[in-house]
């Protein structure tokens, strides 16, 4: 079974602070994604990656950076956290093929005070 692990599971940050959300996948998938989920919006794509060294902007990239140092790891970075970034963040991985099924991590609940 595909495995995607996010850390931390919960995080409280202060406005203006730096936050790094980590994601690790053991599926050897090329593609990885960061989404945030907010009531009434479903999941919205922040950044994604096609492989180690690549990062691409999604639909709502402002205020976020991403880093893909290896096939297994994909980080989401908030350099200057703001209260509007309080949300639940989901990481996912997927393979490039005929069926692009995504496998999601358990989510990270971030509160920016």
């Amino acid at each position: 079974e595909a495995a995607v692990t996010q850390s931390p599971r919960n995080k409280v940050a202060v406005t203006g602070g730096k936050v790094t959300l980590s994601c690790n996948q053991t599926n050897n998938h090329n593609n990885m994604y960061w989404y945030r989920q907010d009531t009434g919006h479903g999941l919205r794509l922040i950044h994604y990656s096609y492989g180690a060294g690549s990062t691409e902007k999604g639909d709502i990239p402002d205020g976020y950076k991403a880093s893909r140092p290896s096939q297994e790891n994909f980080s989401l970075i908030l350099e200057l956290a703001t209260p509007s970034q309080t949300s639940v963040y989901f990481c996912a991985s997927g393979s490039w093929g005929s069926q692009n099924t995504l496998y999601f991590g358990a989510g990270t609940r971030l509160s920016v005070l």
Binding site: N31, Y33, Y35, G40, H41, G42, L43, R44, L45, Y48, E56, G58, V88, F90, A92, G94, W96, S98, Q99, N100, T101, L102, Y103, F104, G105, A106, G107
Partner: protein, 108 residues
């Protein structure tokens, strides 16, 4: 604008009854996935469709790329079916556009 419109946003069913969730897409999508959010907050894959219909137990899904919609039918609803369901449409570059979710409550 939003690529995916999901309805209803909330649905209440009595045990043993059924209903359908629907997602409309603003553009042609290559495929659709349906997810359910479990009690731990994780998203669990229910279906992946590039066309046609698929059935799994009491769930059945259909996807019509040309008509730009997908449905998820639930029959004989059980209490454990309660939760939030999401559709997601696959656009270019293997990214998914999610609907806003349907909160399903199954009552005795």
């Amino acid at each position: 604008g939003d690529q995916v419109e999901q309805s209803p946003s909330a649905l209440s069913l009595h045990e043993g009854t059924g209903s359908a969730l629907r997602c409309n897409f603003t553009t042609t999508m290559r495929a659709v996935q349906w997810f359910r959010k479990n009690s731990r907050g994780s998203l669990i894959n229910l279906f992946y469709l590039a066309s046609g219909t698929k059935e799994n137990g009491r769930l059945k899904s259909a996807f019509d790329s040309k008509e730009r919609y997908s449905t998820l039918h639930i029959r004989d609803a059980q209490l454990e079916d309660s939760g939030t369901y999401f559709c997601a449409a696959e656009g270019n570059y293997n990214v998914l556009y999610f609907g806003s979710g349907t909160k399903l409550t199954v009552e005795p």
